[in-house]
């Protein structure tokens, strides 16, 4: 285990911290499963980095919650916030446990791949070809989630990873996309990335 960062109090709204913890913990689960499914140690390492981040957020949240409570009523009201934060922290720990499997050469049994074909939310990995209409477009323009029910959770560009890309991020030719969504949507995205499908319907 690496050195632990010194924790510094920062006055950040509890709500902001909680949103970030929820988003990160759920993203980590998908990234971690992807790292197992696609045998990707880089993704697994990113999950471990994110886990440290979530740990720090959890501590910051605890401090801010303690400061916010002035009396017994406040304390009771804020208890739920504290419980959700620790649940998000546990979820991120679970994701880190998957990353550990990948990084320590514990095997991924063929049954895992089969099981992932059956689950509701599927994961996919695609390379963006030159002819793809995705190339050059921002995620905001593409609105993939509402159009085909697919969300891009990470983009690999050269040696860099863009984790949890936002609306202004663009997709470029040669990018590797890690995505999750419905099986139909994933299949559609595969054809869009390949350049076989040239139209995105509303």
């Amino acid at each position: 285990m690496g050195a632990l960062e010194e924790i510094q109090y920062k006055p950040i709204p509890v709500r902001t911290l909680l949103v970030e913890m929820k988003d990160l913990s759920e993203l980590m689960i998908d990234l971690a499963y992807s790292s197992a499914l696609f045998h990707n140690t880089d993704l697994a390492r990113d999950v471990l980095e994110l886990e440290k981040k979530v740990d720090n957020l959890a501590l910051l949240l605890k401090m801010n919650v303690m400061i916010a409570a002035r009396d017994a009523k406040d304390a009771k009201d804020l208890l739920g916030v504290s419980l959700v934060s620790s649940a998000a922290d546990e979820i991120s720990d679970a994701a880190a446990d998957i990353a550990y499997i990948v990084l320590h050469g514990i095997g991924i049994h063929p049954a895992v791949r089969e099981a992932f074909k059956r689950v509701e939310e599927q994961l996919g990995r695609f390379i963006v070809k030159r002819d793809s209409i995705l190339s050059g477009k921002s995620l905001r323009e593409l609105r993939l989630a509402s159009r085909i029910g697919v969300d891009i959770i990470a983009i690999r560009r050269g040696n860099e990873w863009i984790i949890n890309p936002k609306g202004r991020d663009r997709i470029l030719e040669g990018d590797i996309l890690i995505v999750r969504g419905t099986s139909l949507g994933i299949e559609e995205l595969g054809r869009l990335a390949e350049g076989n499908l040239r139209k995105l319907e509303d």
């Binding site: 929820k22 649940a87 991924i108 049994h109 895992v112 509402s146």
Partner: protein, 192 residues
Amino acid sequence: MDEKHFQKIVDALAELKDTSELMLDLAYSSIILNSSELAREVQELEEHIDDLHTRFELLVLSSGFSPEESRDFLGLIRLGVVTEEIADAAAKMGEIVLRGLKPHPILKLAVEEAEETVASAKVSEKSILNGKTIKEARIADETGMWILVIRRGKRWIRPKPTTRIKAGDILIASGYAEGEEDFKRLVSGSQN
């Protein structure tokens, strides 16, 4: 390991993963809607997943693997443990409402602002979903939101592909915040 045993492991693992994630979504829904029914559903699923997890571990351990294969099988066991950890986290969140803690406004706002959110909407007479089965409705493909449960009168229904949606149903769904508006439009039938 024969094909039948392999398929049993595959099925159990897929169910473990789906159930653990469903529990998370239901737990967040119970907070947003301050619903003890949904919270109880999470607790029931927690008991179900415990049994399922035990069955899964027994299946894995009775596969008759060789020493060389043991790492792959250890991986399976560990993945099962992960789904159990996620389920435990969800159960903890489900407790909030059951312990009579009124969800703090901060909690509601945080769940609503998150990238993945939960939403509910009532099916109107004119909605194109009215009378369709879950499979025909293709809500996830259209909006990126999954139906978690359907509230019909006083009953809670867990959707199957053949479940038919009726006017008056309240659909509770989770998915990407981006699809929430589309979801609400589709369900309420207010789209042109």
